[in-house]
Structure formats: structure tokens, C-alpha cells
Symmetry: C2
Subunit: 175 residues, 2 copies
């Protein structure tokens, strides 16, 4: 059991999902391609931690977590989490700003802003859509709601940093 296995397992706590849907949920905080998800699901099924509860149209397989899977998740929750890991190419570029010019630096920040504006828009829509759910569904989505709110807050903070950085850059190249 590696970390991705636990993460996949955790996604099925909220409700049964297809591999495709599961990937979308998990991509909120964990980067993984479908070519990693499907073999992981296969393996988890082999270990009887998840099961296929339906194949509605011959292709889509709906997975659900088994009681054994739920047990494992509850144990995993108490293990020390790995520190969040990040890889951010943009920041490596920012590191080189003292060797760049004003326009290149501002171009970098502009692109960054665009990216996080989209993030805020996209995830705000998803979060807003939770309001349409009935009380029970809403309750099931509580963890997801917390994570979505975090994503939006952090994206807004990234935007705030961009604004601050723009001014700093302006001052840096003015001198």
C-alpha cells in the first residue's frame, strides 16, 4: 500500500465513483494521470479493498469501498502525513528575475495571474454547485467542501502575491 492507494481509497468514502470521476476529485490536491489510477484500482480490487458495484453501460465501472477498505482508511488517517509536496516551475523562473528585464518579469507574473484567475473561477463554480444538493448529499460532500474552499482561498492568495510582486518588480527595475 503506497500513498496513492490510500488516496484513491479515500475518494470512495464519500460515494461510489468511476475511475474517471475519482481522478477528477483527487486532482483537487493530488496529481495523478489516468494511467496510474486504473492500475491502482485494479490492484485495490484484487486486495478486496474496493469492489465494482455496477457497469452501467459496458465501459464505465462504478467502484465502491468494502468494509475492509473502510477499516484501512480509518487506520491510515492516524498515521503521520507526508509533508505536502510541490513542484512549481514558475517559481524557479522568478528566482532568476535579477538576471531578467522588467518586461519579461511582468510577463511571467501576468501568465501566473491568468492561471489562478481560472482556478478561482472554476473552483468557485464547483463550490457553488454544492448549494443545490439536499441536506444528506451536502453532508457527504463536507470534506470536499473544505478542500474546495481551501483551493479557492490559496488561489486568491496567489493572486494577491502576484499584485504585491508586480509592485516590488516595478520598484526593483526602477532603480
Amino acid at each position: 500500500m503506497n500513498t496513492i492507494s490510500y488516496v484513491v481509497l479515500a475518494m470512495l468514502i464519500r460515494s461510489p465513483l468511476t475511475g474517471y470521476e475519482l481522478k477528477r476529485f483527487l486532482n483537487l490536491f493530488w496529481e495523478a494521470h489516468h494511467s496510474q489510477i486504473y492500475p491502482t484500482l485494479k490492484e485495490l480490487r484484487k486486495q478486496e479493498l474496493i469492489e465494482i458495484i455496477d457497469i452501467p453501460d459496458g465501459k464505465r465501472k462504478i467502484y465502491d469501498i468494502t468494509p475492509a477498505g473502510k477499516e484501512l482508511v480509518k487506520e491510515w488517517v492516524f498515521t503521520k502525513s507526508h509533508a505536502p509536496s510541490q513542484k512549481d516551475e514558475f517559481l524557479a523562473k522568478v528566482f532568476t528575475i535579477s538576471a531578467l528585464d522588467r518586461d519579461t518579469s511582468k510577463f511571467l507574473i501576468m501568465e501566473r495571474k491568468q492561471y489562478f484567475h481560472e482556478q478561482v473561477n472554476d473552483y468557485s463554480k464547483v463550490l457553488a454547485s454544492l448549494d443545490d444538493l439536499d441536506a444528506e448529499e451536502r453532508r457527504k460532500n463536507f470534506g470536499r467542501e473544505l478542500i474546495l474552499e481551501r483551493k479557492i482561498r490559496l488561489s486568491k492568495e496567489e493572486l494577491a502575491w502576484c499584485d504585491w510582486a508586480e509592485e516590488k518588480i516595478e520598484a526593483y527595475f526602477a532603480k
Copy 2:
């Protein structure tokens, strides 16, 4: 040339560094172990994008970027950056909160707060230490300063989210 190679190259724009120091700079925004850094440095040297300018005590090798390396960095800056990637095990655990109890949920958040408190403390000290540098050194560290400020801001936002989440969790389990 993969992304880690560019990231390593970028670190040497500010000043010459040993592999060990370089890793510490880069870990601000890019997770990589020393077992990945040293072979990368070896390969970049083979391609004459970096060079060893000193071995002060027989073991530490001080690397500097070559003019060819600088050229490459300047080209790379204009390429479209990969979206920042993250892997955050804690958030997978938060996803399962609807299947946990109040105390377990609050314990998770508490641990998270501890982590980001440390981050804020550690990086604030590093940022503050930049004040002691002379004007020229300060200028060279401009990119680093921007990145440190971002790290601190985002860590504080993580803490703010934790506070918000704690209240939400309280309300969730009160019902």
C-alpha cells in the same frame, strides 16, 4: 533537458553554490532529494552548462553557471510553465471527514496547524536575514525574496483556512 535540470540551472543564476546549498534553495518550491540533485549536476556539467569553480576542502564542489547555461535559462523562461503540481496527503484525509468523528477531525487540523506554524517561523527568519545583506547582495537575492514572501503568505493562508475549517467542523459535528 528535463524540468529539474532547468530548475537546478536557475538556482545558479543568483550565485555559485554547492549541491547541498542548491538543494536547500530549490526545496523552497521544488521537492527533490540529493540523490537526484548530484546526478543532475553531473549531467549539466557534462553538457558544459555549469562548471566547478572551486573545491574548497576536497569534498564540497562549488558550481557556477556557464555563459551557455545562462543562454539556456533565458530561453527556458519564455517557455510555457507546467501547472504547479501538488501532492497533499492531509487533504485526502480531510476528504474522509464525513466518515470520521469530531476529535479525529480536529486532531488532523491541529497537526496541520503545527506544520504551517513551523513553516511561517522558519521562513520568516530566512526572509529577515536578507535585511543584513548589503545592497548588491540584496539585489541578487530579489527573486529569492519574492519566493520567500510567497511561501510565508501561503503558509499563513493555510493557517487561516485551518481556523475556518475548525469552526466548520465544530458546526458539522454539533448537528
